[in-house]
């Protein structure tokens, strides 16, 4: 399978300026050397706590932010790839047709003054696709795709519930037949019973249209349902990446183990002792020396305080950045 997206050594540093002369005093290293790939038709999930840089990665990929350094190779069709990180305005407009976003909050991501039909047709209009009547036909087709009645065309967003609005947002994202869809927390603002409908819809659409997803989320149970592979981020770096089942069953990084242990299991018979992580996520402007997880890690040794661990393949398709990955026996959710 070919790769739709290859990200290499992506960095995004936000400068911190102080004083009258706005002198540069440091940088928030929101993303600090991230590598990832997404194959055609697969879902890669990016998980981590707030402030870990997962949203910044997704924003760099769609170029809502300009990366500080790194390469973002995007290959929408079988042709040559483009480096999204280096595109100029015009190149971006052409490339963005193939990558679209689904946003977290369905209440603020739809313009309240536009009718649903116009919202969904907007990407077509901006890119000068078709005539008024062909656009309308396309919008009807899209509404059908996300299972909303055609009659909703002429209504305004306020008339809809959170789940219906998220469907409208999905229809808009699919208007230009994108290759890659970047979904940043698409279900976290929804009620449980509605969340399930949207998760299913996204899975179905992926099968039908052969979409590739970059799924950014903090809810590990939704991630388990959605993804082929999962990458765990901590303070600007990917600490572990593996196929979904493998990551959940046999995590190899202590942070992944702690994250999995913290998820409340919906079964009162499974009230087990959890690993309670001490303290908080480190400040990306002032990351700890060595492995940035070491102050909270219960397996940390002197080496972790000094050396930054390099990501290495520990099993086929399983990458970990931990000095002790080879010796640690960690607990997943299946055991």
């Amino acid at each position: 399978m070919s790769n739709v997206l290859e990200v290499e050594q992506l960095k995004k540093h936000f400068p911190i300026r102080r004083g009258f002369l706005r002198r540069l005093v440091g940088a928030v290293k929101a993303v600090d050397g991230v590598d990832l790939t997404i194959k055609r038709g697969e879902t890669l999930s990016l998980v981590g706590e707030s402030g870990c840089g997962k949203t910044t990665v997704s924003r760099c990929i769609v170029r809502a932010l300009k990366p500080t350094s790194g390469v973002i190779r995007f290959r929408p069709s079988d042709g040559p790839h483009t480096d999204v990180a280096r595109l100029d305005r015009r190149g971006l407009a052409a490339t963005r047709q193939h990558m679209q976003m689904i946003f977290q909050d369905p209440f603020s991501s739809l313009n309240p003054r536009m009718m649903v039909g116009d919202i969904i047709a907007e990407p077509l209009l901006v890119n000068g696709v078709g005539t008024a009547s062909s656009r309308r036909a396309r919008v009807e087709e899209l509404l059908d795709l996300v299972k909303l009645p055609k009659a909703y065309l002429n209504r305004f967003p306020h008339a809809f519930s959170g789940g219906q609005r998220q469907r409208i947002g999905i229809a808009r994202a699919l208007a230009l037949n994108p290759t890659l869809v970047v979904a940043d927390e698409p279900v976290s603002a929804l009620d449980v019973s509605v969340q399930a409908q949207i998760v299913n819809l996204m899975l179905e659409l992926q099968e039908r249209l052969g979409l590739s997803y970059l799924f950014v989320a903090h809810d590990l149970s939704v991630v388990k349902h959605m993804s082929d592979r999962v990458a765990v981020m901590y303070v600007g770096r990917i600490v572990e990446e593996a196929p979904t089942d493998e990551l959940f069953n046999t995590p190899r990084h202590p942070y992944t183990e702690a994250l999995l242990s913290a998820v409340p299991k919906p079964d009162p018979r499974r009230r087990t002792e959890r690993i309670i992580l001490k303290g908080e996520v480190a400040d990306p402007a002032n990351a700890p020396s060595g492995c940035s997880f070491h102050p909270r890690c219960r397996y940390a040794t002197e080496q972790c305080r000094v050396d930054v661990p390099v990501a290495q393949m520990i099993a086929p398709n399983h990458k970990v950045a931990c000095h002790h990955a080879a010796t640690l026996r960690l607990t997943g959710v299946a055991s």
């Binding site: 879902t43 899975l203 388990k224 089942d245 299991k265 919906p266 009162p268 018979r269």
Partner: protein, 343 residues
């Protein structure tokens, strides 16, 4: 378990009278809170779980109004009192708030004042309830509370402002404030919704250990079935203002009765699931409270709907054994044929 519940709510009704019509935010809710136990109230948005707790404390915002029912609070060495009969602005009610029943809000950033240090805000609560204690003693007590809720370096944190603290620490400050007057009942309204999973685990752990040390009774409001499974002893499931099912946590998760509870449990994603597996869904969406369906509020989305019954009459919450109660016609004697068909 002692023989009398600490708090007994019977047929609680709260409505919001608005120009567009009357919204029954809470409709005949009944439940008990037992000493030292945790009652979980679970439901999706608009189900009335937060309004229920606000009714108990009589801090409803206008146009909300307590329209009926009884809220019996049992106190040591005093006759039980019906909170619903008290004047919301009266002295007795003010004594109950904070001293007997304390509340932790969902969003620690919006419920703390940005203009005062956390130390000031906690001491204020202590001084309001016990004006004689003096500023110095109040500060001492505040330090002790911050230590109790596990805030590192409390001597430094006490003089900091909320914006200097992280979400987890702010929630700990809220808990410290709630504990400042030694309440016997602590109501936590979505205490961990705004937090990351690892911080959520820390806060839930703290609540559990405080409960063990101080014998607190806890009412935990949440939409997260996982949190309920980890924390609660008893559970009340709410849908559109009504309690649809009530029972011990083991029952709710392993022998759910009401079709809504069953569907809700099936639709939650789980870390134990197979990757890329579809979820079971509940058809449709939650109706707007203005047009609550006639009859059982869940009937338009219910797979076991009995035509001519569920869409006409509203089922009452009825006990089916000593601990469990369900409001569904499938479990009421007059629908004997339907009982046989249930799985």
């Amino acid at each position: 378990m002692s023989a009398t519940p600490l708090l007994s709510v019977r047929d609680l009704e709260t409505c919001f009278i608005q120009d567009e019509g009357v919204v029954h935010a809470v409709d005949k809710a009944s439940f008990d809170l037992w000493p030292g136990k945790t009652l979980g109230i679970v439901g999706e948005s608009g189900c009335g779980k937060s309004v229920t707790t606000r009714s108990i404390l009589q801090i409803l915002e206008r146009p909300g109004k307590l329209a009926g029912g009884e809220i019996w609070l049992n106190r040591d060495g005093q006759p039980p009192v019906d909170i619903a009969k008290l004047d919301p602005t009266g002295r007795e009610m003010r004594n109950i708030r904070g001293k007997q029943i304390a509340l932790i809000f969902q969003e620690p950033m919006t419920s703390l004042s940005v203009h005062y240090t956390v130390g000031n805000q906690i001491s204020e609560a202590i001084l309001v309830h016990d004006p004689k204690s003096g500023k110095k003693a109040a500060r001492e007590r505040t330090l002790a509370l911050l230590r109790l809720v596990g805030i590192p370096q409390p001597e430094r944190r006490i003089d900091e402002y909320p914006f200097q603290l992280s979400g987890g620490l702010r929630q700990r400050v809220m808990i410290a404030m709630a504990l400042s007057c030694n309440p016997r009942i602590l109501i936590a309204d979505e205490p961990t919704t705004a937090l990351d999973v690892t911080t959520q685990a820390q806060v839930l752990d703290l609540l559990r250990s405080l409960q063990r040390q101080h014998g607190l009774s806890l009412i935990l409001i949440t939409h997260d079935m996982g949190v309920i499974a980890e924390m609660a002893d008893d559970v009340a499931v709410m849908y559109l203002g009504r309690i649809v099912e009530r029972g011990p946590v083991e029952q709710i998760f392993h022998a759910p009765k009401h079709p809504y509870t069953r569907a809700l449990l099936r639709s939650i994603p789980s870390v134990m699931a197979k990757p890329r597996s579809k979820l079971e869904t509940i058809e449709g969406s939650i109706p707007h409270p203005y047009n609550r369906p006639k009859g059982c509020p869940f009937h338009p989305r219910c797979a076991s709907m009995i035509k001519g019954r569920c869409d006409v009459e509203t089922p009452a919450l009825a006990a089916i054994d000593s601990a469990t109660a369900v409001s569904c016609f499938l479990y009421q004697p007059s629908t004997v044929p339907a009982l046989g068909t249930r799985p």
